[in-house]
């Protein structure tokens, strides 16, 4: 058994559009241990979703293409697998939950059928009855009240929060080793978000599933994840255990993000410190550090060379910055 469940090395996913080549993910490397909860944060367009879609090989092609790097899952390179092997892997070993619970389910099949279908797809020789039982069991597990009856309902009869529970049920039905959740609570209200996060955290722990949580909400990461990756313009700019990200952020972008969000427990009259400017256009060649144009600590060197992800301090924390704090 290899030490890491997932190992992403120098991943490059580009989109070949009419406007030019968009380097959505450009040279991204990280690892995940089994059972680990990893948060991937960043703003829209930073490449966090494309990273996830690359891992599960669901990049729309064309225009997208994984042009370089390797993704080792249990020591095997996912990028070398053919479509059939990938279909086998998806849903059984790696599952994914998407942001929009309204469109992720098929409206013409019952909830129970859709869960049972996943189970049957991946467990050979399981009977229809057993698969249906498993569906009810899973609905129970994600705390859908009266699961036996609700399994016969259609998606439109469920609220947003309940549909997201169903998605979790489908994703976990085959006990995957890795669950990727892409903004799973962004479309939900905050009281429902609390329910869903609690549920995901609990179930992942119970089944020993590794959780990759992609979000723009630093608060969600703080309460749910053990480790955090911060992405910016297709690169990882910082990666560290969750406490260090929040207490001793090293990259100016991470610091900027933390200063620009209002906190519930802040004192009255504190003023937000926004990050000036906007993220760079990824279809243009970026020379030097991608954050240089917005960085308060920028030096001439930052505009010429791209900083590598390097350890800062005691080594668990990595930052891609020439002048980290």
């Amino acid at each position: 058994m290899p030490e890491n469940l997932l190992e992403v090395n120098n991943l490059k996913t580009y989109f070949f559009t009419r406007g030019g080549v968009v380097k959505a993910v450009d040279d991204v490397s990280f690892t995940m241990r089994s059972g680990e909860a990893l948060g991937v944060v960043g703003e829209s367009g930073c490449g966090k979703s494309v990273t996830a879609l690359s891992i599960i090989r669901l990049i729309a092609s064309p225009p997208g293409k994984i042009v370089g790097g390797e993704i080792l899952f249990n020591g095997e390179n996912i990028l070398e697998k053919n479509n059939e092997e990938m279909t086998e892997l998806r849903g059984s070993k790696i599952s994914m939950i998407f942001q929009d619970p309204m469109t992720s389910l098929n409206p013409v099949f019952t909830i129970g059928y859709q869960i049972a279908e996943t189970v049957k797809r991946h467990r050979k020789g399981i009977s229809n009855d057993q698969a249906w039982q498993r569906a009810i069991e899973m609905l129970d597990l994600v705390r859908i009240p009266d699961a036996r009856r609700r399994a016969k309902s259609y998606p439109h009869e469920f609220s947003g929060g309940m549909r997201q529970r169903v998605m979790i049920a489908i994703a976990l039905a085959c006990n995957p080793q890795l669950l990727i959740a892409d903004e799973p609570t962004t479309a939900l209200d905050v009281t429902i978000q609390a329910q869903i996060l609690e549920l995901m955290k609990g179930l992942a722990k119970e089944f020993g599933t590794a959780l990759m949580l992609i979000t723009h909400d630093l608060g969600v990461v703080a309460g749910t994840c053990e480790d955090v990756i911060v992405m910016y313009a297709g690169h990882i700019v910082e990666s560290a255990p969750v406490r260090q990200i929040f207490q001793t952020p090293a990259h100016p972008y991470t610091i900027g993000l933390l200063q620009s969000i209002p906190r519930l427990d802040e004192k009255r009259g504190t003023r937000l410190t926004p990050i000036p400017g906007q993220p760079p256009d990824l279809s243009r060649e970026i020379i030097g550090c991608p954050y240089a144009s917005r960085c308060p600590r920028v030096q001439p060197r930052c505009r010429q060379e791209r900083p590598e992800l390097k350890p800062v301090g005691r080594g668990e924390q990595l930052a891609a910055c020439f002048y980290p704090s």
């Binding site: 703003e43 829209s44 609220s159 929060g161 309940m162 209200d189 905050v190 009281t191 429902i192 978000q193 609390a194 329910q195 996060l197 609690e198 723009h216 909400d217 630093l218 608060g219 969600v220 990461v221 703080a222 309460g223 969750v242 406490r243 929040f246 207490q247 900027g256 993000l257 933390l258 200063q259 620009s260 969000i261 209002p262 906190r263 519930l264 427990d265 802040e266 009255r268 504190t270 003023r271 937000l272 410190t273 926004p274 990050i275 000036p276 906007q278």
Partner: protein, 335 residues
């Protein structure tokens, strides 16, 4: 120049907007002959006073009626019942021509920076439109005002001939703000003005709104679902649930000592970006979903999800009462 004219009285304390018993019921058509078979009680008896120069935050989850309240105050949706007074003038009974004049005093900033600007208009045309409609000067004067407004919201006046699609979300939101400011209103309803923006851009727009308020003495009704942002910008906050206001207090106080069980649950559900704080916090996880506003529960409409619910909560609707100084709550068992 625009600055001086815009600077209305900033004295806080006097009432600018007074809302009493506001109701908005949308009919549901159906059945034979397309009769009205039921009503969605989006807003069901809201009382609010907004003081001159303050920011009143209005929070709640989707479907609670917060946006409808904002629009009904501006008479963009005709209220089913109740009264709305702006500067002492009753808006709900004004004839259309009079109401149109009043619109110059009250403006709106919308959530979607992509959908709220006409893609075929240049930025200059978009901002000039209200000025032209209300005949605020000749062509040259309007051009000057537009250039000044762009500067005020932090955009280069050089962009005046560009189209909305050439701008990012944050910049478009600035254009929307410039348009809302054009007629020098005293009251602005901002409906989720930063929800569609990335966090680093959110802060830019929040700061801009605060600066503009200080500069022009604006009064805001800030409608949003993000409680951290609402707390940050508001002097007082009103919490809505299923068409009613359940709690209203000074923002600091509401967050320190929420009295309504719903507010308590809502506040505890918000993740704080600090793992230490998160580890210590106790979360109140509410059961179930928000009920349908077509058939709201009897009595206190929060009772099916409330852990304090008693018989009286199922039968009697609690009125919004001042339980502590300037702290209003609608609950039989507050605290």
């Amino acid at each position: 120049m625009v600055q001086q004219q815009m600077a209305t009285s900033t004295a806080t304390g006097t009432t600018l907007v007074e809302v009493k018993g506001l109701k908005v019921h949308f009919p549901i058509k159906g059945g034979l002959f397309n009769r009205t078979i039921a009503h969605v009680k989006a807003v069901d008896g809201v009382d609010l006073t907004i003081r001159r120069g303050e920011t009143l935050g209005l929070v709640g989850e989707s479907g609670c009626g917060k946006s409808t309240t904002g629009r009904a105050i501006l008479q963009l949706i005709k209220p089913t019942g109740g009264s709305v007074k702006l500067n002492g003038v009753e808006l709900t009974k004004l004839p259309p021509s009079e109401l149109r004049k009043k619109r110059a005093e009250m403006q709106m900033i919308f959530q979607d920076p992509f959908g709220s600007l006409d893609p075929r208009f240049t930025v200059g045309q978009i901002i000039a439109e209200p000025l032209e409609n209300f005949k605020r000067g000749n062509a040259r004067e309007i051009r000057e005002q537009v250039a000044h407004l762009l500067e005020v919201v932090g955009l280069n006046p050089y962009y005046v001939n560009r189209f909305p699609h050439e701008f990012s979300g944050g910049q478009r939101q600035r254009i929307g703000i410039a348009r809302a400011l054009a007629l020098r209103p005293s009251f602005i309803v901002a409906d989720e003005p930063v929800s569609a923006l990335d966090v680093s851009i959110q802060a830019q727009v929040v700061n801009l709104l605060q600066d503009l308020q200080a500069e022009f003495g604006l009064t805001y009704l800030f409608v949003a679902h993000n409680l951290s942002v609402v707390k940050h910008i508001s002097d007082r906050v009103a919490v809505m649930y299923l068409g009613r206001i359940v709690e209203l207090a000074e923002s600091e106080k509401l967050y320190e000592l929420p009295l309504h069980p719903y507010t308590q649950a809502l506040l505890s559900a918000i993740p704080v970006p600090d793992p230490e704080v998160e580890a210590r916090r106790k979360r109140i996880i509410l059961e179930g979903d928000v009920p349908s506003p077509v058939n709201p529960p009897s009595g206190c409409n929060f009772h099916p999800r409330c852990w304090k619910a008693q018989q009286i909560c199922r039968e009697v609707t609690p009125p919004l009462e001042e339980k502590e100084r300037n702290h209003y709550v609608a609950c039989h068992f507050p605290g």
